[in-house]
């Protein structure tokens, strides 16, 4: 089918070429040297950092996103409000790196509007470890697209919670916490986990936003950018490709998990 052909040509081929480059040594030979190097020493630190960082950002996004989605799902009045939330989520989830970085810089950057306001009330935002380029700041900025993404993913699942379940639980003597503990959260669990994985993948691979706010080479996409960028010696770009290859592997694992969870969730939905 033409669809498959299209996909192969424009997605698989670049991917494979990344791998082919990664598997070449510095002198153009075939070998796993680059892959090994990409996964050790400083590079390994970078992967570790990126993974934990992305997991953290994903966790924040998951919890806040699920909460927001639940509130949005239960809105009965005014009726346009829920649509507004979904519409904005669609935009915010796709928020490109540049405008997002700009926006947060103008609000919470050192010269930011919000920073100044908080100063006026006596709170010095930059007193401690905070900085938009630091972990806390990055997580805040990433939440801007992570939370809406989570909302979009979990809203259908929350809609799928039948009111009859809640009422049946009530008639059998269970209160709110009983319901959530024994029915609600278990049913939502696959979708929540799936959302977490999606957010993880999203945070891990975010490039443009991070690039604007920091030059932290421990963030893998940025690291790849450094290695493949302009002034790097010829042999070193193989490591860059290897890094990209490993990143693809990690993403692939995450996506397979996501897919498995989605299938499970669908089984209960219908």
């Amino acid at each position: 089918m033409p669809f498959l052909a299209f996909l192969v040509l424009f997605l698989i081929v670049p991917a494979i070429s990344v791998f082919s480059q990664a598997l070449r040594g510095a002198n153009g030979e075939f070998g796993f040297a680059s892959m090994g190097e990409a996964f050790s020493g400083q590079n390994l630190d970078a992967f570790w950092f990126s993974i934990t960082f992305s997991a953290g950002a994903a966790a924040v996004g998951t919890i806040l996103g699920t909460l927001l989605a639940y509130v949005a799902a239960s809105i009965t009045r005014p009726r346009w409000l829920r649509n507004a939330v979904t519409a904005f989520s669609g935009v915010a989830a796709n928020m490109g790196g540049l405008p997002l970085a700009f926006a947060f810089l103008s609000l919470l950057g050192r010269q930011g509007l919000g920073t100044k306001l908080l100063n006026g009330v006596g709170i010095d935002l930059y007193a401690g470890d905070f900085g938009l380029g630091e972990v806390t700041g990055l997580i805040t900025v990433y939440s801007y697209f992570n939370i809406p993404l989570m909302v979009l993913v979990i809203l259908p699942a929350i809609d799928g919670l039948k009111p009859a379940w809640r009422e049946a639980c009530s008639s059998l003597g269970g209160n709110s916490s009983t319901y959530w503990r024994r029915v609600g959260l278990p049913v939502l669990a696959p979708s929540i986990l799936g959302g977490f994985i999606l957010l993880f993948a999203n945070s891990f691979s975010a490039y443009a936003t991070a690039a604007q706010l920091t030059d932290n080479s421990k963030i893998v996409p940025l690291r790849i950018g450094f290695f493949l960028g302009g002034d790097v010696s010829v042999g070193e770009d193989a490591v860059g490709y290897a890094l990209a290859a490993w990143m693809i592997v990690i993403m692939a694992v995450a996506m397979i998990l996501y897919w498995a969870l989605r299938r499970r969730a669908e089984r209960w939905q219908s």
Binding site: F6, A72, T76, A84, P99, A103, L113, M247
Partner: protein, 276 residues
Amino acid sequence: MAIVRGRVFGRVVAPLILLVAAAFFILPLFAMMRFALQNVQVIDLRWSNLFDKWSLAPLWSAFSDDQFGRALTLSLKLAFGTGLISLLLLVPTIVWVHLRLPRARSTVEFLTILPYVIPAIGMVAGIMVIKPHARWFLNSDLSLIPFYVVLALPFTFRSIDSGLKALDLRTLVEASRSLGYGWMRTIVHVIVPNLRTAILSCLFLTVAVVLGEYTIADVLLKRTFPAFMGEYRGSDPKGGYGLAILSLVVTTLIFMIIGLVSRPKSARRRRARGTT
């Protein structure tokens, strides 16, 4: 304001959460807008001069930059092309999957998640490898389209898929074909009109993706609108930020319009459930 099923918790906590969320999402945009349109440095900003020196001048000068028109046109062309090709690829494929291979559906959905596996930076790396070999192709500005189609795949697939799920596809197709329509005519005259909302949202999703995509365009040295914005920010930050705000506002409005257009259907369904 917003009421959550009449529970006391819902009356206080829910609106509060919404308010905090609204603040989180709107304030950065507002700050960016202020920076763009108000000619006062943050350092000098006081309550007294809060409303001074607002002007749309930075926007006008951005508009009048000679690259502006070209970049915008290119991005719109790309958006249109991406949307069109996405639809042409997706609609027949998904219809086919729904009808003939229902079990393959989850596999196909998995395929559409692949763009997440191979994120922008990965694609860039891949493209850099191919660059020397496919120069003739990559020279055209429109070569971005296929990549954008792939990039938008997770979202576009979702919207067409859920649009088709809501129809009783099999019955429609069988009815249409029993009345004499061939496959092509069935798709064009029967299925597509019923997918109006899904198609619209698909198109607008591609617009959102194209207007937000920077990485690949940058690597391939194409002067799309986002690339232009990035460059313009270097020379005139106010204008650059102003443009960014503008494109965000426009995209949000578009999405809200889609939401409004598709609302009557869900409201009708809600009313039908009713009480006995």
